[in-house]
Structure formats: structure tokens, C-alpha cells
Symmetry: C2
Subunit: 213 residues, 2 copies
Amino acid sequence: MVLKLYDYWRSSASYRLRIALEMKGVAYESIEVDLHPDVRAHQSDAYRRLNPQMRVPAIEVDGEVIGQSMAIMEWIDETWPEPSLFPADSVARLKARAFANTIACDVHPLNNPSVLKILKDDFGANKAALSGWYADWITRGFAALEAQTPALETPFLFGDEPTIAEICLVPQVYNARRFEVDLSEFPRLVTVDAACQNHAAFQAASPEAVKPA
Amino acid sequence: MVLKLYDYWRSSASYRLRIALEMKGVAYESIEVDLHPDVRAHQSDAYRRLNPQMRVPAIEVDGEVIGQSMAIMEWIDETWPEPSLFPADSVARLKARAFANTIACDVHPLNNPSVLKILKDDFGANKAALSGWYADWITRGFAALEAQTPALETPFLFGDEPTIAEICLVPQVYNARRFEVDLSEFPRLVTVDAACQNHAAFQAASPEAVKPA
């Protein structure tokens, strides 16, 4: 049975799972949940019944829809172990997960459209204030990650192949560029992103590659 | 060698790791990083050098300090496998991680003190607005979790023992109560929290149990 992925081309958490599935060579059916502000399909009653969290991505397993990209990533790796999304060494695996979670827990949640909407509607944030907020969380997170990233001796952060760290980094860099966040202070992160742009799985999973016509 | 945990009694992400370590019966040395607004030890130069993310919890492994509670939780489980912090069944494991990540990614990051400070300083949020924001993210997250939680047939969410799901739930319920968030709509979550309050690991790890004299 083909895996069903509730997906949106521009959702960076969905983008993570598309990369993971492409790295594994796992075929999946993408079911579009249109997050565009004029559509908000994730807030429809139909989608709420499927996924009370009203977010993407989500997958269907045993007839149930389950969300949370980082949990799904672990399940993907357990279900299709090769190639692993994690370094082989225990401490490297800890570092890769910590790198990924700095993005998934400390950056991405703050810049979710639902947060920006509340800032605008309830806190009177104008466009400049929203851009400042958006850039600030990326800059804080990336500054910590850049400081923790050693000079690269391999093409990717943890060796010759990308791991969960790059799977979370690349969609966040995509968001940063989309919102014109200055990345000049993060040369190592930019170098890793560039290496990923030449990797077939990252290419096939990119927003531009999967954007509906 | 005893594991060093950079810890703060009231940090709910630190509380998660204390529970995990108590469940495993792993002795650890708690190194206090005082997050109190009058102290802000996490923002000191000394701590920044150790952990550029300037957050707790963090652990010291092989002479390096590494943060991110959810990454550390996976490392703890890999390093001391028994008793597991995860359900044995693959789909249950996915659900437990998804439950935990709903808190770790969708609730907790929005209510971090660093976020509240920006809302106050840069967006002019008064006390009522901050309380509303705080309660709103907990309520959204808990509403989704309550809707996804079946009628309990076991003492805990995934069987006879707590898992990563309860390890994330209980500290978030603690925060909710501390900020007087109404939990009356979440009877299943409250029942699970009550079961955990009778569990020795949760008791030993609680803020009150570890609060400095």
C-alpha cells in the first residue's frame, strides 16, 4: 500500500518528510492540503476530523492520520532503515538530532503562519514587525548552529551523506531566503545547504519540484 | 562517570529529562543554571561558551555540552535501553512521539520566557495579553491531544507504564497549572497526569522535589 502524505508544497515541515522519503526511495501519494491564506484547507471541518491538530504534514497509517514531522521521521527511519537518516555513532546521532531539533523546536514553531496571524490580529504587528520577528528567530537559531558546526571535513555535517540535520536545515534555509533573511553570518550552514541542493533527494523534494501546476 | 545535567528546577524541558533519568534509574549530577529573571545565568558568557543555544537542559558528553531535550531523550533511551521510554509497537511508538512533539514543538516553544519577553518589550503586550497568549497555545495543543486520546483502558496512555508522551505531558500540565490555565476540557489528560503523580520517577523529578533550598 502506498503511503499517504498530507502535504503542502511550501510547508517546510512537509518538505522535511518529502526529503526523507526520497532519500529512502519510498513511493508516496501526496494529498494536497492547501495552506494558502485564501484557502486554509487545513482548517476545514473535513481535515480537522482527520487531524485534530489541523497542521501538515501528516501520514495515514492503519487508517489513522497522524501528524508531527519529527515523530514521522523517526517512524520512516524505523520502517525503512536503509539508508539511515542518522549517523551511526551514538554521540553523532545525538548531535544530529540536537541540530535538527534546534530548528524544529526553537525556530520553526515561532514562525508558523498561525503565530504570525495572532501577532498581526491581536498584537497589532505591522509588516516590518512581523519580518523582524521572523528573521530574529531564524538568526538566533542559525547563530547557535553555526557556532556548534565545526569546520567541515566532509560534504555534509556528519559525513558523506545527509542526515536528519540537513533534512531540517534545508527547508529552514528555504524559508529564510523566501523572507530575505541575511545569511551572511552563517557560511557553514550555507555551504551545507549548497551541497544538499546537488543531492537528488533534496532536488526531488523541493517546493519548486512539487509545486502544483 | 556520572552524567552532568545542566538543569533548572522550574524548566519544563529539564523536568522531562529528570523524569527520563529517574525512570531509567540513572544517577546524574544536576548543575544549576538559574533562569530566574533576576539572574539569567543561561545568558552569561560562561554558559554561552558551553552551550551557544543558551538554554537548558543540556548534558555533557565526551567533554562537550549538547542541548535539546528531545534529542537527549532519544540518546538516553539508546544508552540505557531499559525500561524503554517508548511503546514496543511501531505505530504506538509513532503516536507516542507525535503526542510528545505536539507539546515539544507546538506548545512549549511559544511559551518560552524568551518569547514572552519579546512580546512584552517589542510588542507592548501587557500582563493580560501575555496570559492569554500563554493559555491559548496550551489550550490549542491540549485540545488536539485530548481529541486524539482514546478512552483509557490502561493506567497510562500507551499501556501499564508511562512513555515519552507522559514525560512531555506532565511538565506541560505543571506549567498550565502554574499559570492558572483552565484544564476542565481535558479530562483524559488530567487523569493521565494524576496517574503520573503517583509514579516514583515523576515524584522524584518534580520541580518541588528538586527545588534548591
